[in-house]
Symmetry: C2
Subunit: 186 residues, 2 copies
Amino acid sequence: MALSDLEQAVLGLVYQHAPCTAYAIRTLCAKSRTARFSGSAGSIYPLMLRLEQRGYLRSKPARQGRRRRRDYGLTRKGSVALRRWLTLPLPAADVSLVYDPLRTRMLFQRALPRASTLAFVLDALTKLRAAWPLLEQDCRDHPRSQNEFLHYAARNALLLAQARIAWLEEVAAAIERPTRRRRRGK
Amino acid sequence: MALSDLEQAVLGLVYQHAPCTAYAIRTLCAKSRTARFSGSAGSIYPLMLRLEQRGYLRSKPARQGRRRRRDYGLTRKGSVALRRWLTLPLPAADVSLVYDPLRTRMLFQRALPRASTLAFVLDALTKLRAAWPLLEQDCRDHPRSQNEFLHYAARNALLLAQARIAWLEEVAAAIERPTRRRRRGK
DNA sequence: CCGCTCATGTAACTGGTTACATGATTTA
DNA sequence: TAAATCATGTAACCAGTTACATGAGCGG
C-alpha cells in the first residue's frame, strides 16, 4: 500500500497549504515550473478522494464568499506518512542520476550532420539562458528567511541549469572547433 | 502518430547497434545507468513488433550458433523518423528544467526536525559521491575519439552530479550552521 | 452580459510496469 | 548437472494524461 509519487507530493502540498481545495493543489502543480505533474483534474480529484477514504486526508465543505468548496487537511495518519516518506532514504540509483532529455538526444547525434547537431545545441543553449532569469527570480521569491527549504529547492534548479549550460557550451565549443581529421589549409 | 519516448530511444539504439536482437536493446536499457526505462520484456517486445508493423524496423530470423534469434535493423522510414526526432527542437519547458527527486523532497523538509533533514542531505551526499567514480569511468569508457556524442552524454551526467553535490554541500552547511534564532551561549 | 477564474468531477486512453511462462545454450 | 545467460513472448495492472462536462461567481 505504498503511496505513489504524486500522492506523496499531494500530501506535502496539503501540509504546506492546508486548509485548501483540490483545485488549489491542482493549480500549484500546474503553475510550478519545478513540478513534473500536470495537475490535471483527472489525476488530482480521484487521488484526493482516495487519500481521504484511506484516512490520509480529511475534508469539510466550506464556502469562499457564496462559492461552495471543499477544504482539505492532513490527518494524523497523513502527516505520519508524509514524514515517513521524507525520512525514508532514496535508493542509490534514484539519487545518483537525474534524467535529462538533452542527454538522451545527444546520445544519437551521430545520425545527424555536424551542422544539425550544432543547431540543436545552440537552440537548447538559447532556451536555457532564457529560463535562467526566471530561476533566479524563484530564488529571490523564496528567501531563506521565509521557508529555507523552498529556497534550497530553487537553488537546486538554478545550479542544475548552470551545469547544463556549462555542458552545452563545452559541447558547442568542441563541435565548432575543427576536427582532427580536417586537413590543414582546407 | 508521434512516437513515444521509448520508441524514439529504441530507434536510436537500433541505429547504433544494428543488426541486433530485441533482447540486446532490452539489456542496453536495463544496464545503462543513464537510461530511464526498465527495458522490461513487456515493453520492448510488443514495441518492436509494432515498430516493424508500422515500417520503422525490419527484421529477419537468424541464429547465433544454434540459437534462434531475430535481428532488427532500421528501415529508410525508421532512420528518417530518427533524424526528424533528433532535429525537432524540444519545447522550452522540457529544456529548461530537469526533474530531481532530491529537490522534490527538499520542498517539504519543513515537516521534519532539522536533524532529520541533515541526515537526509548527508545520506544523499554519500550516495552521490559513491556514484561519482562510476560516472567518471563512463567518460573514460567513451573517449571522444570513438563516438564523441557518447562522451558528451557521459560528461552531462558527470557535470549534473557535480552540480548536485555542490548544492547538497551548500544546503548541509546552511543547516549545520547555527540559525539566527539560536541564542548566544546555548 | 461576456469571458475569465474558481471549483468539481468522469471516461477513455496511453505508455509504461511487474510478474508469469517457456525453452535453448553456455558456463561453473 | 545446476545455475546463469540468451531469447521471446503474454497478461494483468497502474499511474497519470487528455478531453469532456458542468456550473457558480466575479470583473470589465
